[in-house]
Symmetry: C2
Subunit: 224 residues, 2 copies
């Protein structure tokens, strides 16, 4: 049987740089949780569940327009720390994100006030938090550059390649609607471009799946 | 005469929370500098001049596409701390920004290794750095939302109002080219929309200036 407590110490990034008191504070407050695929864990400024440390699974952070259109900001995987689900502890974070499980996910939940109190006393945790924030910032800057400067065919090709790397398969089980939600566009736009890729012979479309027949062609397109 | 040393202590955000040793380390390393309007202070990953603390003046942070198209990410003013000019001290910042003076600017320059060394030991400075990073992150998220979900007429109206607030005048001395560089678009697109605003009677265009005649109409447009 896995010891979740021992795992927590091993998974928590700067554990050995914390004082015994800080370690105790975290261990005392942390909860081990499970969420089924498709669960909304955090919904914008409506809640502030806490910092998530992922044991296994996959999260998606996205934003949503007033008209309900979505765009994926970044994904989080095993060992990643999710800060935006505790944005109330960071008053300067003035944007709303939604955090959803893309796979069944096991995680530790650290209450925002506890994480904040340790971070305020520990330079190690504060600096580590900085690094995470910088990484997420870089993710979003990358996305913005794609949106502003890149054409949609390249973005879609890049998305398919990324998705295939994450799922470790060339048979993607994903709807056009879902892709549109990742990319901040309309379903019709996605369908049109996928059909173009199919006509080129790079992918094969069937109900609910996209098969990458020539992923190297898609890669070449993104590098153009 | 102004004592720049005394001012530095007053301007530096968490001065009183630093140890005497950390204060000495900063004071010993900091340099007071002046840059004329239009100076490129930091140019992407090519350099890493250090953290800037603005005494007076105005900076603009922008990014640039491979084709040379610009877009403004955020502006910095008096008392702001500019981190991205020291991005080498933050390995997870994996995007390039360019920092340029928009007005004659006086600032303190803190070498990246000195700032980093104090930040690694001081929870107060690390947490403050977090707050700055969060603010800049929020600026960029705001911009991205504008770009993805908002139409160009609203963005341009918003830009004119913002510009008028910064410059404290309804007579903006700015070329269409410059606006295009702020907004990540082409000059023709800006000119076309400005002419539309002029036809509506909201602004008056003349060589090198834009007069906001009915700023409240522009505000109303952004709120639509």
């Amino acid at each position: 049987m896995i010891s979740k407590e021992k795992d927590f110490q091993e998974f928590f990034p700067v554990w050995n740089k914390l004082t015994a008191g800080q370690q105790e504070q975290l261990e005392h407050a942390v909860r081990y949780e499970h969420a089924k695929k498709g669960t909304i864990i955090h919904n914008g400024s409506l809640d502030c569940v806490g910092v998530l440390l992922i044991h296994s699974g996959q999260l998606r952070a996205y934003m949503i327009s007033e008209e309900g259109r979505e765009i994926t900001l970044f994904r989080l995987f095993e060992r990643d720390l999710c800060l935006f689900s505790a944005s109330c502890m960071m008053p300067n974070i003035q944007f709303d994100t939604i955090i959803e499980t893309e796979k069944d996910t096991d995680f530790w939940l650290i209450p925002p006030n506890v994480y904040k109190s340790v971070m305020e006393a520990s330079a190690a945790l504060a600096n580590y938090t900085n690094e995470i924030l910088s990484s997420r910032f870089s993710d979003v800057m990358w996305l913005m550059e794609q949106i502003i400067w890149k054409s949609f065919d390249k973005r879609l090709a890049e998305f398919l390649i990324q998705e295939s790397a994450i799922e470790k398969t060339n048979h993607l089980k994903i709807t056009h609607e879902k892709i549109a939600n990742h990319m901040g566009t309309a379903r019709e736009v996605v369908t049109r471009m996928l059909r173009y890729f199919q006509n080129e012979g790079w992918i094969r479309l069937s109900r609910g799946t996209i098969e990458l027949i020539h992923p190297e062609k898609l890669t070449a397109l993104t590098e153009n």
